[in-house]
Symmetry: C2
Subunit: 163 residues, 2 copies
């Protein structure tokens, strides 16, 4: 059984927002993060991955759903300033995370996690990972089934933790 895995965490109150097609130049991410900090908007996750067209990129943030409106306002101001193409949002977000130690050291762990969600017919909207936590954003209605599928895939019920 997976000794390095300790728990599955669920946060149903998330929302995602992305500023799309900003210039891929130094200082842009700083401007965006600074504008959010100036309004004391707390961030949960930040993701920037490969972008189809070179010279541009998009930055995705997840925030507490109550902060989404403020975040949209800040991003729309930045859109004009940075010449972004648009701001995309998704208010139907729940974060489901696998928590443990050295999660990325065994390639079978991310595979088993994503397989479990796939077999449960749950679509993954966003992914972020580190050594101690792999997080997937799914729709809120899928959150409970997602947590259950991951529990089962990693035999967490055998740990009998008072979660």
């Amino acid at each position: 059984i997976f000794r390095s895995i300790s728990a599955v965490a669920v946060d149903k109150n998330q929302a995602a927002i992305a500023i799309m097609n900003v210039p891929d130049q130094p200082g842009i991410a700083g401007k965006v993060a600074r504008a959010l900090a100036d309004e004391s908007i707390g961030l949960d996750m930040i993701m920037q991955s490969f972008h189809p067209t070179s010279g541009h990129n998009s930055i995705t943030f997840t925030v507490h759903e109550e902060a989404l409106e403020d975040t949209i306002r800040v991003m729309n101001n930045l859109k004009t300033e940075l010449g972004a193409s648009d701001v995309q949002t998704d208010s139907d977000c729940a974060k489901v995370s696998l928590i443990g130690a050295g999660l990325m050291e065994q390639p079978d762990i991310p595979a088993r996690l994503f397989d479990a969600l796939g077999q449960a017919e749950i679509n993954i909207k966003l992914i972020s990972s580190s050594e101690v936590k792999i997080s997937c954003i799914v729709s809120r209605e899928d959150a409970v089934a997602a947590a259950r599928a991951i529990h089962k895939a990693f035999e967490l019920e055998k740990l009998d933790q008072p979660r």
Copy 2:
């Protein structure tokens, strides 16, 4: 001074690869991660963010640079199977990470981190974050300057750690 920040870590031996425009349906991320696990390819980071066109998405991985060739082979096989548009790679990757506790609780921390890189004229290729670590992929030639800029921005030299 930032009590919650403890260190800056640098890993110069990374490479990034992304499978672009896969169907945004349940089970796809599982297929990709399983194919990599079957070849025992260790992953460092996994990122999936907002995608410009709905119905498709791209998944970005970072691996040890020595694993890039194997990873490209696996991804090219998947490309045909999943109907992906292409596989993008970047072998010039260094991961520079800020490590601490509760990093996302203070919005000023990500802002200061990205500002520091922007002011040092360092372009951020990929971003991934969690409560205890914010990682940026930059080009290898920028790694040392990036670590130094972050150290300075968070006054880490005052911690006088034998890093």
